[in-house]
């Protein structure tokens, strides 16, 4: 009995060892140490660049197209670009100094400039790039840093990000042309001003079918900043030289408190799930199945809305081909309504309301070169190639992004061109490119969440906290103070 048991265990151990040996041979050894270092592989003068792109570019096949085209174009010079194969938000500051970061990164301006402040990013001679003249100065400024009184640029802008409204054209009210287009310009009024979007949401909610109008994650500062910026608020002010002054925190400036009352008013029509992050995940399927008439997200998430809508149509009985075509035709991505009520009251009739221009928070994604690369010139060639007309147009076509190149934006027209124009006209408030921006998110998210929750306190039997401008102003002042403390007290 004992011998049998021992033999069985011995057999198991021997088999396990053999299995491990086989796996070691087949799996473990070869791949582990490849491309461990930045731009590491140099075979006979060959240069390998590791490119960190975002996940959408990978999943939609754009990165493969870009790398193949670049490698073909630069085969004679011995430069090869490969996917860095890392997590899209992997930390250059953590990996770069040890040689495990990418050579070229594609990230948002605030992230790149955070690296730049800590000298993880190389400054560029932006005039050398072919795209220089095609990109507006506002986009370049998103990558500007001042050191010892001199301006340096640390990234090449590729696309503009701003909150966009997503909706289904086949879910528009049947009578929209007669009832919802007072100015007769062929565009529904609820896509032009917030009062009519509020009114439409009110109608949908009051039908009692469990559906909603416009729904957003109200604790998301990036998506909801229009309620502050449109009313005179800002992130950081500027000093006499025009440089960002992070001591001047502007979320409580101007009539931001009035805007926040409008924010609270709209939250009341969205249901309590708008208080937290759940809408961020559910918006794709809920717009697709009609639970939400519209929601807000960034242009690079177009493909996620599209995928869900295709699935929705297929679940309704359409063939894959028809569903794809219907989704292409019906999924709409437009800028947020351009007009907000000056008095902060969304419930007034749009025809008798004085409006102000909507200003949204935006960002610019772009390429930058790691300070730890051993192949700076090759990296510059890659960026120059990736920001060429053809590559930017291909990127816009495949990913639905809004390019920063004027010629590509003009060629594509439509919403792409309108985003480009909004950037030019100053209706997109670009996130300041300073490290202090890291400290704005948590205090403002807490405030937005609390104000959104306030919209439901009365119906839950609790006392409302923000009922007038003065109480809202006090909350904004506290948030601004928290941000100041985080930047200048706690972080030091």
């Amino acid at each position: 009995m004992l011998r049998v048991s021992y033999n069985k265990i011995s057999g198991f151990i021997i088999i396990t060892f053999l299995l491990v040996g086989a796996i070691v041979f087949l799996n473990g050894c070869g791949k582990s140490e490849s491309n461990a270092e930045t731009g590491a592989s140099s075979d006979g003068g060959e240069i390998t660049l590791r490119i960190l792109e975002n996940d959408t570019a990978k999943s939609q096949g754009y990165l493969d197209e870009l790398l193949n085209a670049f490698n073909e174009a630069y085969a004679d010079e011995g430069i090869t670009a490969v996917d860095a194969n890392m997590e899209e938000y992997s930390n250059l500051a953590e990996n770069g100094p040890y040689g495990y970061g990418p050579d070229v990164i594609y990230q948002a301006n605030d992230q790149i400039m955070t690296y730049a402040e800590d000298k993880h990013i190389l400054a560029l001679n932006v005039e050398d790039y072919e795209c220089y003249d095609q990109i507006p100065q506002e986009a370049w400024d998103a990558f500007k840093i001042q050191v010892d009184g001199k301006d340096y640029y640390c990234g090449v802008p590729v696309n503009v990000q701003e909150p966009m409204l997503f909706y289904r054209a086949d879910m528009l009210p049947e009578n929209w042309e007669s009832e919802w287009d007072d100015d007769g310009n062929g565009t529904p009024d609820f896509l032009e001003n917030w009062n009519d979007l509020y009114a439409l949401s009110n109608v949908i909610v009051n039908e009692g079918t469990g559906k909603y109008g416009f729904v957003a994650s109200m604790n998301d500062l990036y998506m909801m900043a229009e309620y502050i910026f449109s009313y005179g608020g800002y992130v950081f002010g500027t000093d006499a030289d025009g440089n960002v002054n992070s001591e001047d925190i502007g979320f409580n400036q101007g009539d931001a408190a009035t805007g926040m009352l409008a924010f609270k008013q709209f939250a009341a029509l969205m249901g309590e799930e708008c208080i937290d992050d759940s809408v961020k995940t559910s918006r794709y399927s809920n717009v697709a199945n009609g639970t939400y008439f519209a929601s807000v997200s960034t242009p690079d998430t177009y493909v996620l809305f599209h995928e869900r809508l295709v699935e929705q149509y297929q679940s309704e009985g359409m063939s894959a081909e028809d569903a794809e075509k219907a989704a292409n035709d019906n999924l709409m991505m437009v800028e947020l309504p351009g007009l907000m009520p000056a008095n902060g009251d969304l419930s007034t009739d749009s025809n008798s309301t004085e409006f102000i221009q909507t200003k949204v928070m935006g960002g610019v994604n772009g390429y930058a070169i790691s300070a730890y690369t051993e192949h700076k010139e090759a990296c510059q060639k890659f960026i120059d190639f990736a920001t060429s007309y053809d590559c930017m147009k291909l990127r816009a076509d495949m990913l639905g992004i809004a390019p920063t190149r004027a010629d590509v934006a003009a060629e594509l027209g439509g919403v792409t061109d309108s985003i480009f124009n909004s950037l030019n006209e100053g209706n997109i408030y670009l996130m300041p490119s300073v490290k202090a921006v890291d400290q704005i998110w948590d205090p403002m998210q807490t405030l937005l969440s609390d104000v959104a929750k306030d919209a439901f306190r009365a119906q839950n039997g609790e006392t409302e906290k923000y009922t007038d401008v003065s109480s809202m102003q006090e909350a904004l002042d506290n948030a601004a103070k928290s941000i100041y403390d985080a930047i200048y007290t706690l972080a030091n």
Partner: protein, 281 residues
């Protein structure tokens, strides 16, 4: 007779009460697992399409995607990496732990007590305390992005937990060793021919625990593995997109299959005890 009649209702109530309690507790523990299993079969893949607790439509599509759609989430590769690390760590750790425990149990040497006390104290600190140091050491050994770095760290730390195995070896009767010694057996022979045959359960227990830790660990692989194609399942699952919930659930369910199978296969060895050998001896 009277006694029997009076006991019966009490026994029935006791049985019913015990079973009811066990069923309630089982449901409490089983429901999250059931929910995850059902979620993994969601047709749409989104948690927000559920009808109440469970998906409105079911499909095997998620499992198909898990193993076929590998462009962004290469689950088969993550599984292979995890298996490689877990088996490698299991083999090396088991040997090291058993040797350490046997040495501490059978031999008396000068620093034995201080070593035992030191390891006892050191084992009370959580393992992630030394992560920064581990990272810097691995950087210097050029072992970042290398699956062997995980095996090395897991195996090196394993002997710290030798106390359970030592306790087991302590229970083996000294007379068995003395008999072997009288027969002329050397220390290696005693270990391989006497001790190991009597140590089936603790070998299996050690192997299982040495396998289970690397199989499900997240912190260390996340620290040391930067490249996507080297990720383990735990790291890969946490990096899945916000709209990939059912794929996450399917991945989480499937990762449990090998370890559950291993437990079932090896559980019979756990019941064969040292008493068998002792009685025979």
């Amino acid at each position: 007779m009277i006694k029997k009649v009076s006991r019966r209702p009490k026994a029935i109530i006791d049985t019913v009460w015990t079973h009811a309690l066990l069923i309630v507790i089982s449901i409490i523990f089983f429901f999250p697992v059931l929910w995850l299993v059902m979620a993994s079969f969601s047709k749409t893949g989104s948690i927000y399409d559920f009808k109440g607790f469970f998906p409105s439509e079911y499909s095997l599509n998620t499992y198909k995607l898990l193993f076929s759609d590998t462009q962004m989430y290469d689950y088969p590769n993550w599984l292979a990496n995890t298996l490689f690390v877990a088996i490698g760590s299991c083999c090396i750790s088991t040997i090291l732990v058993i040797l350490t425990a046997y040495t501490m149990s059978r031999f008396r040497f000068r620093m034995r007590k201080p070593i035992m006390k030191t390891t006892l104290v050191l084992s009370m600190f959580p393992s992630f305390m030394g992560m920064t140091a581990v990272y810097l050491i691995m950087v210097n050994f050029n072992l970042i992005n290398n699956l062997w770095s995980l095996i090395l760290v897991y195996s090196a730390g394993a002997p710290m937990g030798y106390l359970v195995q030592k306790g087991y070896f302590d229970t083996i009767s000294n007379s068995i060793y003395e008999a072997a010694r009288i027969d002329g057996a050397t220390n290696p022979v005693i270990f391989t021919k006497v001790t190991l045959p009597l140590s089936g359960p603790i070998l299996v227990y050690t192997a299982l625990t040495s396998f289970a830790w690397p199989w499900s660990d997240f912190i260390l692989p996340n620290l040391l593995l930067k490249n996507r194609d080297l990720w383990t399942v735990a790291v890969g699952l946490t990096h899945m997109g916000e709209t990939e919930f059912s794929r996450f659930a399917a991945g989480a369910i499937f990762i449990a299959v090998p370890i559950v199978t291993l437990y079932f296969c090896l559980s019979k060895f756990l019941v064969a005890g040292v008493s068998d050998g002792a009685v025979k001896g």
